[in-house]
Subunit: 220 residues, 2 copies
Amino acid sequence: MTYGTLCQKGFEGVSTVGLRERKKEKTRLAILDAALDLFVEQGYESTTVEQIAGAVEISPRTFFRYFANKDHLVLWFHEHGKAIMLETLASRPQDEPPFTSLMHALRAVLADVAGSAPEDAERFLKLRRLMDEHPRLVGLSVAKGAETEREVAEVIAARRGVDPDQDQLSHLIVGFAMSTMRVGFECPRRDGTMSEVTHRVAESIELAERSLRPGWDLRH
Amino acid sequence: MTYGTLCQKGFEGVSTVGLRERKKEKTRLAILDAALDLFVEQGYESTTVEQIAGAVEISPRTFFRYFANKDHLVLWFHEHGKAIMLETLASRPQDEPPFTSLMHALRAVLADVAGSAPEDAERFLKLRRLMDEHPRLVGLSVAKGAETEREVAEVIAARRGVDPDQDQLSHLIVGFAMSTMRVGFECPRRDGTMSEVTHRVAESIELAERSLRPGWDLRH
DNA sequence: GTAATCTATGACAGTCGATGCCATATGACA
DNA sequence: TGTCATATGGCATCGACTGTCATAGATTAC
């Protein structure tokens, strides 16, 4: 599975997908690209939905049928990352130490991003540059990440056989894992290429693993 | 220093503060309390600024002179927490391991909240219950926390004598510390008393310290 | 192929959060 | 008391959304 999967909804053949569906996905990406370009040009706040809609020649009302709100343009790729994370997690052996599984999930997300189609990679990097200049977007992103964190914590708690509302360690494990992820993806500021991202994430994973006591995530 | 400090701006005597200042702080708290009650009653989203303003008999325009926006009602106590955190951090010896200093800062925030005046404690607990029911508010809170995290990371990097844009470990240290904080403060769901919060935060600090390798935050 | 049907879109009106501007009221201070 | 600073309210306006309805175009049934 690659980063572009979300945009294509599988390959069951044209007949299943239909003209309608394909056109919708094309429009969605057109909106996304137009918006990102406008954001880079004139900033996030000062770009209006009306402008974005105008750039792709749809009505503002239609814009909101593709993206629930303006923020979703920026948070959109999170959905995909979350999906990969949960899938990977489900595929790991139940008796693997949770943090190890989470690092595998993180690597899977990274591999997916790094291996995505050029246009998708472009979008990803553009978004990342955008966040560098707009702290508010980082906030949005982190908040979305916290949502994922909550979900993942439930999975981890279930796997450890404890009640997520009682067990702090499950939350701590996931919290540390998400911190590792954020540090890897967010702390850039050099050339901003995909290979840099890959390198940085690998580095932060290594750092985290070296920092934790062996077996810390196995206690009850 | 107690949690209420922000609401009173010191004790240099009435003459320095003046009627104006005192009235303003009284109004600010009145708005806050009215808003929290309305939020509990009818939810965050469905409470309008007009209603809040009406409840304290001010104009909506004036509301925005006390709180930059509706979200600030909820994020307000973060400012205070951040201030304590940075103060505590500054007061710790430069050669103390960074994570240890951060845990001291966390304990200071906790002590402040726990030792605040009854009305302030009430506000804090009410807010916390509110967040339990409104995921969006948790998101706001986390986003605000991310901002703090960034600032704190700069302090830690400076202290370690490294460039914050180059050194991932500084970010990881602060990320782990903030995760510990969130786990302690956010994972509640029992009686919702202040003593429970105290207990939970202490627990998460202990858990974090036990999980990390001694000296992990000293490497370069 | 035509009719019935489903659905994506646009237009419009309306709500709410937020901001700038100006007039006025009220505390501060000499 | 009079002057000055500032807190407030009212108004106009913008921009993000949302509900509703009519319509055009795609899909399916016959």
